[in-house]
Structures are given as C-alpha cells and as structure tokens.
C-alpha cells in the first residue's frame, strides 16, 4: 500500500490518540511540542496548557532541578529506554497531586533537531493492587502466626486443666469406689468421658489447624504404596465389617504424602463406618486420568447421605448421626477437604440415601511447591 504523506499524517494522529498511554514529544530544549489526548486526563492540564511548556512542568518539585540535567544528558546520547520496571516514578498533576507513572523514552530527529518521545503510563491502579497484595500477605502471615500460637496453646495449656479434672475424678473412683454407690460411680464415668471427648476434640482441632501450618513439601509419591499403608491401618475395621475392597491401580504424583494418606484413610474409614447392617459391604477405590488431574473415587453401598446435608459435611465438627450410632468427632471430611484444596484439587460426593455414596477428589498431575 502506497500512502500519501497526508494519509500517513492522519494515521499518525489517529495512532497517537488511540494509544492508551500519554504520548509526548519534546524538542531539544525540553519543551513539549506534541501531547496526545490522554495527557489531559493523566496530568489534569488542557492540551493547550501543555504544548510549548517545558517538560519539567510535569515533574515533582523535588526532582525538577535534577531532571533538567538528566534530560540534557539523555539528549546528548539518546537510546531507547523501556518502561521503568522497578523505577518508582511520579508525575506532577496540575492540582499539585502526584500520580505514579512508568515512562518509556526514545530519541528521534525532526527537521534535524534531536527530539525525545516520552510514553507515560498511569500505574496508580497497579500500585494500589500491589500495596493491597502486600498488606494481604502481611495479614495472612500474622494470622498464620496466631494460628500457630493457638495450636501450641491447644496442645499444652488447654490439656493441663483437663488432665487435672479427669485425674482427680478417676482417682476418686480408684480410691473410694467401695464408699460410693452405683450412681456416684456413674457420674464419675460421665465426667471422665466428657473430659476424654474434650481432649479428642482439642487433638482433632489441632491436627486440622496444623494441616496448613505444618504442611510438608510435595514429593513424588507412589500412591499405591500410600494406600497399602492405609489398608494395613484399617485391616481390623475391614475384617470387622466383613468388607470386600476393590482397589484400582493408582498413579505416582507429587503430593504431601503425610496428608494425602489422611484423605484415603478418612474416606475409607467413613465407608467402613457408615455401612448398612444387613448388606455385605463393598468398597471400591478407583483412579482415572481427567485432563490435567487424576480423579479418585471411593464408592460404597452404605447408608448414603441425605442431600440436605451436602453443604455441611465438609465443615469442622459437623456430624449427621449421634455418637451412639456412629462414633467420631466430625473432623475427617474437613481434613480431606483442606488437604485436597492445599493440593489445588477439589472434593465432592454423590449419594443416594439408603443405597450408597461415592466420594470423588482430584489431584493435579503437575503440582508446584506449596
């Protein structure tokens, strides 16, 4: 395409006005000769008040004198300078306020005169985001430190009074059993039982809190090996339930093995626990590649989960049954969810009440460090 010089001129003007950044051209004395429309919003000056003015009009007072020197040196030896990453620059607006900017410079020669093209970008949004992000990270660090402190208190200070209560009630029973009647002994048993439950609650809460504070790195792990450990742990329960277990081939993945082992353990132990008494229990564990993830499924033919509770079951200490029916504190699925999410996966379930449940979770095939 052969363009006439008038067309070129019109394209140049359109380009100038279309650019999202403020574009200015300064002559060899540092006076603004061209300024794009964006400069009005950026600096708060009408274009007519910019053109002809020295570029120092837009430099913060503290830097004005230094800027003249810098500009003269640049004009002696102009070279392309890209947007100043890491350079904390500010421009002065008409109302005296300062706006954080990035500036790219390049030299050009117009009618034999060395000129400078400056492209100025308003980065206040980015700066604000950066400082918001820094503040959020600080807050997160502080809340993690508090959690750590809480975890220590839970592991030590809260246990001490509990130990005293249970110790003395049991001592009472041990030493005075002959002098107490059946009812008194029953009260003591309830008191001791309450303390023990409180202790497991504290213990579970601590284990839950430590998933994020004491997590280890992600290491290549043979999940078949992990699962063999889990099945050995659960051997007695599998026997007792008379369960038939089918386990598919599992992949090797980069995971925190100490945590993923808890996911398998909790899901399988739930399947063993919530079985239907009259139906022979069948549990299946499968793994299937699904895009960038592996999807694991633990299915059972147990009592199923009423869909009305679907929102609650992954929350800490949520239980759908009384302790007499099914023991437990309601921490298992909360741990599963936290571990899976720490590995950037997802966990959910499908269930038909009275027929069985399938828990699914995903783990990514390529996991970077946590």
């Amino acid at each position: 395409m052969n363009l006439s010089s008038t067309s070129k001129d019109s394209i140049f003007k359109s380009l100038l006005q279309a650019a999202p950044d403020g574009v200015m051209v300064c002559d060899s004395r540092g006076a603004i000769t061209i300024a794009s429309d964006q400069c009005e919003a950026l600096f708060g000056y009408p274009l007519t008040e910019l053109v002809g003015q020295p570029i120092e009009l837009l430099v913060p007072d503290a830097l004005k004198a230094k800027h003249i020197g810098l500009r003269q040196r640049y004009q002696e030896m102009p070279r392309r300078r890209p947007m100043g990453v890491g350079l904390d620059l500010h421009a002065r607006r008409k109302d005296g306020s300062q706006v954080p900017v990035e500036i790219s410079l390049s030299g050009c020669v117009v009618d034999g005169e060395a000129c400078v093209i400056a492209v100025v970008r308003d980065v206040s949004d980015r700066r604000r985001l950066e400082s918001d992000l820094t503040r959020l990270i600080e807050e997160l660090k502080r809340s993690n430190a508090e959690l750590e402190q809480f975890a220590y208190i839970a592991s030590h200070d809260l246990q001490e009074p509990l130990r005293v209560v249970s110790g003395y009630t049991q001592l009472l029973k041990r030493r005075y059993v002959a002098q107490l009647d059946a009812e008194a002994n029953e009260y003591i048993d309830y008191a001791v039982d309450g303390v023990k439950r409180m202790q497991t609650l504290i213990h579970d809460l601590l284990a839950f809190a430590r998933l994020s504070t004491h997590g280890r790195g992600f290491q290549p792990t043979d999940l078949n090996f992990l699962l063999r450990q889990v099945l050995a742990n659960l051997a007695a329960q599998v026997d007792e339930a008379g369960a038939t277990m089918t386990v598919g081939e599992l992949p090797n993945l980069r995971v925190d093995a100490s945590q993923v082992v808890q996911v398998f353990q909790n899901l399988l132990s739930n399947a063993l626990k919530f079985r239907r008494p009259a139906v022979p229990l069948v549990i299946k564990l499968t793994a299937n590649r699904d895009g960038d993830y592996w999807r694991f499924t633990v299915s059972d033919n147990g009592i199923g989960i009423d869909p009305q509770y679907s929102g609650r079951i992954f929350e800490v200490f949520q239980r759908l049954h009384s302790r007499d029916q099914y023991p437990g504190n309601g921490i298992g699925l909360a741990i599963c969810k936290k571990v899976v999410e720490r590995h950037h996966g997802r966990i959910w379930f499908e269930s038909t009440l009275g027929e069985g449940t399938s828990f699914h979770f995903t783990l990514p095939i390529n996991l970077d460090e946590p």
Binding site: R163, V164, S166, Q170, K196, H214
Partner: protein, 148 residues
Amino acid sequence: MKSGKLRRAVEILLVEDNPADVRLTVEAFKEGTVRHKLSVARDGVEALDILFRRGIHNQAVRPDIILLDLNLPRKDGREVLQTIKADQALRRIPVVVLTTSSAEEDILRSYDLHVNCYITKPVDMERFIEVVRAIENFWFNIVQLPVS
C-alpha cells in the same frame, strides 16, 4: 559399689508448678513399688537452687532422677534442662521431661538439649499410673544409674 541398683530410697526431684498436677504424680508414685523420696520444685529457679545447693537448699540431696515440666514460672523447663546438661556433675542425672505438651517443637527442642527421655502425660489416670510404673521400672530396675 561403683554403680548399680540402689539399696536406699530413690531420690526423685519433681519440677512442676501446678499443685494439682504435683499431687497426681505423688499419688501415682504411691501406687508403685519402688521405695522413693519425692521432692518438689515449684519453678525453674527453685529447681536449679536445689540442684546447685544454693541458699536455703544448701543441704539438698542430689536427686537420682529429675522429672521436669517444660512450662514453668520464672525459669522454664528448657532453660533448666540446658543448665543441667551444661554442668559437668549434673549432666549425669537422668532428666525425664514429663509434660502435657505433645508439640513437635517441644519434643525436638528437648532432645536437642540432651533430655534422657520425653514423656507426654496421659490424660487418663489409669494410663498415667502405668506410665509412672514404667518410669520406675525402667530407671530404677533396668537401668544402671551413675552413683556419685
């Protein structure tokens, strides 16, 4: 006898600030079979005064074993442990950390400071009595203690 099992009553120093906890340990030892004398230090400073026979404790008997809690007033158990294990004479006395803490950092720190063993006190009294029996049996029937 250069070393070996003790004929006299075993001297136990219990370092523990909570009187209710002290009493539970005393009662647990009462259920044991080893003849013992149990003295109590209520904080880290008192424990070290007893061990170094300072001030009113200048007649204190050197214990055969020290049962040490970690979180103590004035000077905590970690500092007491560090001081004991840095002293030429005291470092031979077996120190058993006996605490409610099961925090990994406490366990590691204690072994780094050369504790002889670390025990988390069970909440269950029956279990605690078993633990105390095991301490007795191990340290006073099985182990050869240094005799000063």
